[in-house]
């Protein structure tokens, strides 16, 4: 009885995924596509859960359900409204230039080839049993890895090089974001309802991030999910119109950005110095080392995602005598005026940074 219910459940899940994906791609309105894509992310998280992959479901829930939607909506808004618009915001229709038929044929055949390859790989995977894959090797070596969650063991121990390179890719992405210029203009201060929500949501998100980091050693969780949750805390503060979102400035920011790659390299080179292979943890220390690397990676991932949401270099925050940050300067100011305002800002920046760092609670 429950088997048939589950079968129908799976069928309904499939139908919703495919129809959401189709609708998101076929929609002509950008905002509608983004909302459909967010809904798609939610349903995909359910699919991962159904497939007994809680680590991926966690990551999909944190990124796809929350952050991706916010990121896309913010970016789309910036594209549509570079200057304030009178009247209705208007719907942004996609103005795609019509593709030439040769290009269209090329794209179709490439997509068909890719789809065919994926289908062949899937069929191949079904014909093999779990005993043929790497699962056996992983579970055989799990006791020596320092953690009891096989996903964390693979990510941080058996395939640590891959994770190091992934963090390096994230660092490159952050450098690209910083090169885009100033951050996007912020949001207006929110009303009392959202403000009240944010007041308790941010501490709970920070606690949950810490919990996910710690639990990643023996249950689904880990640095990436924790980093995404921490980033969500920063994004929520930004959406509430707060000027200080807990993102450090200047040198501290740079250190935190590179913390993931930096900690990996530090530990790897230190192990080399002790005569072990690069990132070859001794079995007794593996758990501690993995936790240290994961903490650094969590911070780096959180900073990367928040900077992606900001959309550029974060501006120094000026704080007045009472420790309050004034509203952001208008975006449409001509460059002459902002250039005059900059030197004054620079001199006040130093003490403002101290005050902002001290009065983190107020910020």
């Amino acid at each position: 009885m429950s088997a048939t219910s589950l079968l129908v459940f799976d069928g309904l899940l499939l139908v919703s995924m495919v129809s959401l994906a189709w609708a998101a791609l076929a929609s002509t309105d950008e905002r509608r596509s983004v909302i459909l894509f967010m809904a798609f992310g939610l349903v995909v998280a359910l699919a991962w859960a159904r497939l007994l992959a809680p680590d991926v479901a966690l990551a999909e829930a944190a990124i796809g359900a929350g952050l991706a939607g916010a990121l896309l909506l913010t970016a789309g808004r910036e594209q549509r409204q570079p200057t304030p618009v009178h009247g209705a915001a208007g719907v942004h229709k996609r103005h795609d230039a019509p593709l030439g038929s040769a290009l269209r044929w090329a794209v179709t055949s490439m997509s068909a080839a890719l789809g065919g390859t994926l289908a062949w790989a899937l069929a191949h995977a079904f014909s093999r049993g779990p005993q043929d894959g790497l699962a056996q090797a992983v579970s055989a070596n799990l006791p020596d890895s320092g953690v009891s969650n096989p996903v964390t063991a693979v990510l941080l121990n058996f395939r640590a090089y891959d994770t190091l390179l992934e963090l390096a890719v994230l660092l490159a992405a952050v450098l690209g974001i910083l090169a885009l210029g100033r951050e996007r203009p912020g949001y207006a201060a929110s009303g009392p309802v959202f403000d009240g929500l944010v007041r308790w949501l941010v501490p709970v998100l920070i606690l949950t991030a810490g919990y996910l980091l710690w639990v990643g050693a023996h249950a689904p969780g880990g640095a990436f999910q924790a980093g995404a949750t921490l980033a969500a805390a920063g994004v929520v503060l930004r959406l509430a119109g707060r000027r200080c979102i807990g993102l450090p400035q200047g040198t501290t920011l740079r250190i935190l950005m590179s913390a993931g790659v930096g900690m990996f390299l530090l530990i790897g080179l230190a192990l080399l110095g002790f005569g072990r292979p690069f990132l070859g943890y001794p079995a007794a220390w593996a758990g501690v080392l993995i936790l240290v690397i994961e903490s650094a990676a969590m911070v780096a991932i959180a900073v990367t995602l928040v900077l992606a949401f900001l959309g550029g270099r974060p501006q120094p925050i000026r704080v007045d005598a009472l420790g309050r940050a004034p509203a952001l300067p208008p975006v449409a100011a001509p460059s002459g005026r902002t250039r005059e305002a900059m030197p004054r800002a620079e001199s006040a920046t130093a003490e403002a940074l101290e005050r902002c760092n001290e009065e983190k609670v107020r910020c």
Partner: protein
Amino acid sequence: MIDGLSFLLIGAGGFFYLAGSIGLLRLPDLYSRLHALTKADNLGLGLLVTGSALQLPEPLIVFKLLLIWLAVLAASAASAHLIARHARRQEARP
């Protein structure tokens, strides 16, 4: 006995979810849909949480379940408010 109670609670939870979605489809207006959805869904979730807590009585899990329910309550209320306010603003524009 405990099983029977969970039975009732989880069944009622599912029923309320369905009722909320039917309201979402049939009601005429965004505001009435918001109303139906937020109330019915949160009640359904609360019943599901209580039913599940009876099935898994460990303290950490019960705490997590309660936290989930409270978070969904607060987040749904705030989201409903934000969506309704946004819709009013859209209506007020020329």
